[in-house]
């Protein structure tokens, strides 16, 4: 155990040194991180309080139904943490140079596994953990719970819940790598995408939220009683159910019923940890070797390209430097399976979103509800665009990588390089964002006025977000990091995502009242007006332009930093 403590100690030392290195730039960076993370935590706290109060006191849905909704949210959270850990895990636990180094030392494999698991967990789940803990604080304060509740709920219920998700992810991946050597990595990844989509689909089919609401509401106003018999039997085996049951019985003031759920969570987490240690002892090294072999296999299978017009040896019609930069980026993207597979996965998620919107049957007659439904879909579009940007545009400068010396020492204007990256990103993002918002707005409500409004607003927001992500990516650049997934899940990336969310929320605040006015006129008075659009479009446009220009300025300056 001594060597494990030693390595952890070194890591903690490096982390602290990075955090408090005394340089003005670091102090500003850390302070702004603190402000943004703190601001988001406070935002989530109040959101949790407001939503809980609204659903219980205004909408009167009852404690049982509220906690079942929580359970569903926790399930999505569980899958997100699981997927995040699995994606980062391959790079952290199977491809990292640190593992290569540690494997050469007399340290047991299960200790390396444990060390890298913790590394992986904190790297990929810290932002989600912060959000979850802030949410629990808001939730507990709504019910005026005692301090013991916060301690137990946050550290002995929520953290084990997160750890179960993370542990399952790394164990699952370890097994997959063993299987991959037999069925091939492509087949396996395709299977993985199907499994995750099926898991979400089957869960919601099994829990059937619409039927659940109808069944509970039959007893209105006695909706606070326990309707446990309505739960699908299989859902009781899921950690999200255990957490929601713990919370439900805690707020009802019956800790003796809540405690068994807490024990189940802790015991399952401990059991999984022991199982992980045993499995790692037996399989971590062999799966690590398999991953290395699979990489070598992929290299030797590299065949000649059929896309001759994209070959670097053939000059294209573009200006020479732009031509080679574009072709280089194309090949670097499509020769890295992690890149195009993620794009494929995100495209599938976009399709799922559009299909879900098309199946919504909203027969809403109140202007406020119409405004809310439109805004929710619009913001979700923005969220998807921000996620795409974080994954593919934020790492764009970092992906220049250590070979950046060859561009920096060549007669290439760095401004031109930056603008080239900005332009390529803008074209791609605008095309996706506009197609997405057009399809979702049309599918939700075929209203030409709203469609025009959504297209213009989303276009402006996409421009702002693209500038923000590329600029922040240049500011938080990590040339030494080869893995774009790790770049997109770094602290700088988390900050950028939170900034993107704040920008989206601010844009929503600008458009909410004019939209409400539009629906008032349309539904109550039957007027189809367009004059209301001008002010919100101008305001969103100005905010986006400011975000774009400031970020581009910051990005350009950052690109000139010493290499």
């Amino acid at each position: 155990m001594r060597e494990l403590v030693l390595v952890l100690n070194v890591k903690a030392h490096i982390l602290l040194k990075n955090l408090f290195d005394g340089r003005l730039q670091s102090i500003i960076k850390n302070l702004s991180s603190f402000i943004i993370f703190g601001g988001v935590a406070v935002g989530v706290f109040f959101l949790s309080r407001l939503s809980t109060m609204y659903l219980i006191q205004e909408a009167h849905i009852g404690q049982f139904l509220y906690h079942r909704f929580l359970s569903m949210l926790l399930y999505v959270f569980f899958v997100t943490v699981n997927l995040g850990n699995m994606i980062v895990c391959y790079a952290t636990m199977f491809k990292s140079d640190e593992v290569k180094f540690l494997m050469g030392l007399p340290i047991s494999h299960e200790k390396i596994f444990l060390l890298k698991f913790l590394d992986n967990f904190f790297y990929s789940s810290s932002t989600l953990t912060l959000l979850g803990l802030s949410w629990l604080l808001g939730y507990g304060s709504t019910y005026s719970m005692p301090w013991t509740f916060y301690f137990v709920a946050m550290f002995l219920v929520f953290l084990p819940f997160m750890l179960i998700s993370g542990l399952l992810a790394v164990l699952f991946l370890m097994g997959l790598i063993k299987v991959a050597s037999r069925v091939g990595i492509r087949m396996l990844l395709a299977g993985l995408v199907v499994v995750y989509l099926l898991a979400v689909y089957l869960y919601f089919r099994m829990t059937n939220p619409v039927q659940l609401v109808q069944e509970v509401m039959k007893y209105y106003p006695d909706v606070n009683q326990y309707f446990g018999y309505l739960d699908a039997p299989a859902s009781r085996f899921l950690p999200n159910h255990w957490v929601s049951e713990f919370l439900y019985w805690s707020v009802r003031g019956e800790p003796e019923v809540a405690l068994p759920w807490f024990f189940i969570l802790v015991l399952v987490m401990l059991g999984l940890m022991i199982a992980a240690a045993l499995l790692a002892q037996k399989y971590y090294y062999t799966s690590w070797l398999s991953a290395s072999d699979a990489q070598a296999l992929r290299i030797t299978r590299n065949g000649p390209s059929r896309l001759r017009f994209l070959q670097l040896s053939r000059p294209g019609r573009l200006e020479r430097q732009t031509d080679v930069l574009l072709k280089r980026d194309f090949w670097m993207f499509f020769r890295e399976p992690g890149q195009w597979l993620h794009l494929l996965l995100m495209s599938v998620l976009l399709m799922v979103f559009l299909v879900s919107v098309s199946s919504l049957e909203l027969k809403l007659t109140q202007p406020l509800l119409q405004t809310t439904s439109f805004l929710v879909v619009f913001l979700f579009n923005g969220f998807l665009v921000a996620s795409l940007l974080l994954r593919f545009v934020f790492p764009a400068i970092s992906l220049e990588g250590e070979p950046f010396w060859c561009v920096r020492s060549a007669p290439v204007s760095l401004r031109k390089l930056y603008l080239y990256k900005l332009l390529v990103s803008l074209v791609m993002v605008l095309a996706i964002a506009e197609a997405l918002v057009a399809a979702s707005t049309y599918l939700l409500r075929s209203d030409p006025v709203l469609l025009r409004f959504a297209l213009i607003c989303m276009g402006s927001i996409a421009v702002g977000l693209t500038g923000l992500n590329l600029g922040a990516g240049a500011y938080f650049v990590a040339y030494k990091e080869k893995n774009p997934i790790r770049v997109a899940s770094s602290q700088g990336a988390s900050l950028t995502f939170l900034a993107s969310m704040s920008f989206l929320s601010f844009s929503a605040m600008i458009v909410i009242l004019p939209l409400k006015k539009y629906f008032d006129n349309l539904i109550i008075r039957g007027w189809l007006t367009t004059d209301w659009m001008v002010l919100p479009i101008v305001l969103v446009g100005v905010v986006s332009l400011v975000v774009f220009l400031v970020s581009t300025g910051v990005g350009l300056r950052a690109l000139h930093r010493d290499l």
């Binding site: 590299n302 000059p315 430097q321």
Partner: protein, 235 residues
Amino acid sequence: MIELQNVTKKFGGFTAVDGVSLRVERGQFFGFLGPNGAGKTTTIKMMTGLYEPSAGACLINGFNVRRAPLMAKRHFGYVPDQPYIYDKLSGREFLFFVGGLYRLEADDLRKRIDGYVALFEMEKFIDKRAEEYSQGMRQRIVLCSALLHQPNVLIIDEPLVGLDPRSARLVKDTLKRMTRDGMTIFMSTHLLEIVEELCDKIAIIKDGKIIFEQEQTATHSFDGQLEQIFLEVTK
């Protein structure tokens, strides 16, 4: 011609290079020596535009690297100490990429690449992806990329690290021939016998300052004494 005018580089409170002034004439082979951490690579990075000097100026053929970077960069080729190239591109693709950055005409570029592939005996691996390359293979690719645009100044940081004896001989012969053809070479290295064999002029840097500078001619050669000199002045 290379000229460093009172160049300084500070990283926070630490001065890595402290008022270095040097002049390397056209066609001269210059050896830049110094113990580990003396400031050799930092000086080279300032000369190539990868670091911005805190003070002073680096001039390549009269062009200030900071004020006219694009003009200066057209005149030199650079071989870094770590030969990082794109793992997902083959060596040939990397060379076409670099040639494109210098806006070389495609047919001419193809001929030059074929020439260097033959010269540095890279036929066996040039079309494989760089993730398969050894350090020596990468080193040869990077050297070719620095020569593609036929610069008249070559700045090289530890050019022979990782090369097998045959490749090292090949590189040394090539560099010698290029100096004879009028190329100015600025080379940082720890291999003193190479410096004695190749260089017309040397400078030794320690703690960011030039502590020794001397030319080597037919009448004034180091004659196997360079190691002794180095050990004495860097004590």
